[in-house]
Symmetry: C2
Subunit: 512 residues, 2 copies
């Protein structure tokens, strides 16, 4: 257990921040609530982007880019929408800085209408769609945007809730309600598959209650993950916006019946919050544990030798090992790259740019052990003089510290890829087991309260959703309805609060 | 010649806008000076990003993300820097919108210190580097950021100069001046190779004069392209910042000599302006011409048939053609994709997501011809009943309307890739010839004035750079020193303005 990282049991919130700091994923910035995503954190986001973007395109979507700044008046056109976002937005009021009389610099060139930094882009995109869409022949419009957005929240937490964050927002327009609904559900499925397959985060899918839905949506669907402290984390949402924004922004098309109709629109998004999800779902008291699919560095080779004559021998062996895994071309090419002090960097993959590092830094093996454990590199390959004599090396798995000796002859690209895939499956399996063990059923409000107080996790219960009931439960237990899951029971039961008969089960949990 | 596009001879500026509109690359937005990049324009940017990002990573760089908003005080720390950017920045002064007494919404929650939307990130990144860098062991730092930035310029022009634009900004820190200089030049080389290889835009490389350099840089290097109206376009810049920002932001390291030193830093960037460059370098009076490497759609298949019984026959043949090029799996997979009305969409490549379209829309062949010409799709494959009988199709090349008949048996992925590569080479060749033909030498100021007035293009001349001299020439000829090219003559000559002997030749041109 590393001294610079609190244990989860001791202080979960501080553990989370310590893991981020030790792994150099992110840093505080001089602007309140805004974070800097450091290279190893950003590489995870790039892996997420690459994978999701592929899924979006394979389902027929294209990317575009809309302005960062939104006229204040746009926000007010959809009544629920402005309620949801006006209280936390960054307002641009001036177009330059000028020297004032006292010589100091200050805002000048006041704008006629204030502009706000997009908290989300339904309004701007709605305004453009009303120009672009004329006929049913122009539909469907299936556009996604990768962008930064701002919501000036009071309490921020790295990755989970920051004033500025990075995300993607899909915005689609359709001819019929059914098509919009199908799209909304399709993208939720894309999110769920992605979370499980790439992040190894199993998620529960369902519908949000009226109280929890997106401001301006008819229906919001969600994927919810479970963190190791028993709290839920909303990992992505997909909204059927009905005709609300189409009416607010006059998105109309001439139909097959030669009449004008409002479009049916959807929007869906995931953000850098997903990085918070995977940190909290997988990491341990020694630091970060990363799913191999999104790990910037898939393996690090650590030479263990004291004397200079050992060094040459070990270096030669490592080169043979690298050649076996990567081929001679990559080993030769890497020699010409600018690298950090004491580290050699090889690309395991030239599309994802995932790396294999060799750590020649002048520090003790024990320090290197901590260093790479904290950074969540899936495999550590150790090579000492005796390993060289035995023509083998020791492979340590970050997941569970499993240790195996592997012969040089057995090394290959496929061997490493196989080990990475196996790691990925085990990680998902572990997270799924945790989630399943921490999903419980309550048949009474008292039972739920006990579960939430003692074990946390998801609690499944019959419940009639409603503003007042949900508010009361949140006030008393800090838990909210995470979703109304798609898989509903055949029989009805008694609402844990009202005692009324209801067909609906929901999932409660305390949440981030 | 299409009616919705002005000719270049008639009105070059309008032609440029017409090409963009007809190809649906971009659109005006409701916010002054800000554009919307539409899917076909954004796909070009994605191709640029993918290619450049690969080159950055292969030369040892990593990506990160820094905050959008910069405290006003940061801007003022470097004297030249604030002069360069204060007059055109978007200033955030409030953190929410609230209902005022008259019921309307207005800015509230005034910030203690105004924040500006980054016009560039040297200051924010400098502030972070001063935390991250302690020792020479932490160097070099080689970070790039893909981001949006804002500079509220008075006169905007789509892609070339917009208030908000997308770009990448590399920011590196080094132990020595030499390393920083090497990096600055390395990245200029990366830009130059990229512009020629991927955009088919040949560029001239050189150093900017003091008057034209980046505010805060010691030296600025540039790549300059030539547009078809004889004006130059700065396509990318790479700055050796010396120790200017290191001193302003205390970026210090403990050296090998156990003493503190300021770092040597660089920055370098290219932007969505590159899309403007390739439009203006290659397109013609019929619309867009795209380099195949960045074309969202590499080929479109146009069925030409009148009767329904012909349709089935042609459809069957097209499926065989697609199968020959893409393989049966992709042809089968495409059936399940959501597509636009009347268009079938197949992926030529599942990494770049470049497409082959089949245009089954219910419009006349002539209209389809115009439609795809304007959109710059490199190859149009036409299939009529007689082609089916002959087991061949007609292939039309957008570059020069070359037309060839190709047998079904000759179609394959390699065949199409070969045609695309050939197109790309020819396009570069054509642009290079144009550039060479429009690069002239002047031995006197009068000669240069005549060239600029009659032919435009680059004018190479002996010249002693200097604020006053450059200003006078710009006032009299509208031309500026685009760069002091790296290839300098062995002998010195007479400055065209002062008549003094000087070893320096420069390139003049009118510029965007």
């Amino acid at each position: 257990m590393a001294k610079n990282i609190k244990t989860r049991a001791d202080d979960y919130a501080q553990w989370y921040l310590d893991v981020i700091k030790a792994a150099q994923l992110a840093d505080h910035s001089p602007v309140r609530g805004c974070m800097v995503i450091r290279p190893d954190g950003f590489a995870v986001w790039e892996a997420i982007q690459r994978d999701l973007d592929h899924r979006f395109k394979e389902t027929g979507h294209v990317n575009a880019y809309f302005p960062l700044l939104i006229p204040q008046s746009f926000l007010t056109r959809e009544a629920q929408h402005v309620e949801g976002f006006a209280m936390e937005c960054a307002v641009v009021t001036h177009s330059k800085l000028e020297k004032k009389e006292d010589g100091s610099l200050g805002p000048a060139g006041e704008l006629e209408e204030p502009l706000i930094i997009r908290p989300t882009s339904e309004t701007m995109i709605g305004s453009m769609y009303s120009d672009w869409i004329q006929s049913y022949r122009d539909l469907p419009v299936l556009i996604n945007q990768w962008a930064n957005v701002m919501r000036w929240e009071m309490r921020t937490r790295m990755f989970l809730r920051t004033a500025e964050f990075l995300w993607q927002e899909g915005h689609t327009a359709h001819e019929t309600f059914d098509e919009a609904e199908e799209e909304t559900r399709r993208m939720l499925d894309v999110y769920a598959s992605f979370a499980e397959e790439s992040l190894a985060v199993p998620v529960l899918q369902g519908r949000k209650t009226e109280r929890e839905k997106f401001p301006g949506a008819d229906v919001t669907y969600t994927i919810e993950g479970l963190m190791q402290d028993g709290k839920a984390l909303q990992c992505g949402t997909s909204h059927n916006l009905g005709q609300n924004f189409a009416k607010a922004f006059n998105i109309e098309y001439l139909g097959r019946d030669q009449k004008k109709h409002h479009c049916w629109t959807t929007s869906w998004g995931v953000s850098t919050r997903l990085i918070g999800a995977l940190i909290m779902a997988h990491s341990d008291d020694d630091g970060l544990v990363l799913p191999p699919r999104v790990a910037p560095t898939v393996a690090v080779i650590v030479p263990i030798c004291r004397k200079d004559e050992e060094k040459a021998k070990v270096r030669d062996f490592i080169e043979r090992a690298l050649t076996a895994i990567l081929g001679p071309e990559e080993v030769a090419a890497a020699r010409h790259r600018v690298v950090a002090h004491g580290l050699e960097s090889y690309f395991f993959d030239h599309v994802t740019h995932q790396k294999i590092l060799v750590d020649w830094r002048d520090t003790r093996p024990g320090d290197k052990h901590f260093h790479w454990e904290q950074r969540g590199v899936p495999f550590r390959l150790e090579v000492g003089p005796r390993d060289v004599d035995a023509e083998s090396l020791v492979v340590k798995r970050r997941l569970d510290r499993e240790k195996e000796t592997v012969a040089l002859d057995d090394l290959s690209r496929d061997w490493l890829q196989g080990r990475l895939d196996d790691f990925q499956s085990r990680l998902l399996e572990r997270a799924r087991r945790f989630r399943d063990e921490n999903t419980r059923t309550a048949t009474s409000y008292d039972e739920m309260k006990k579960i939430l107080a003692n074990e946390g996790g998801f609690v499944r219960a019959y419940f009639e959703p409603g503003e007042a009931a949900e508010e009361r439960i949140q006030a008393e237990t800090k838990a909210s309805v995470r979703c109304i899951p798609f898989d509903q029971p055949a029989a009805s039961g008694k609402c844990i609060l009202s005692g009324n008969d209801t067909p609906t089960q929901v999932l409660f949990a305390q949440a981030y």
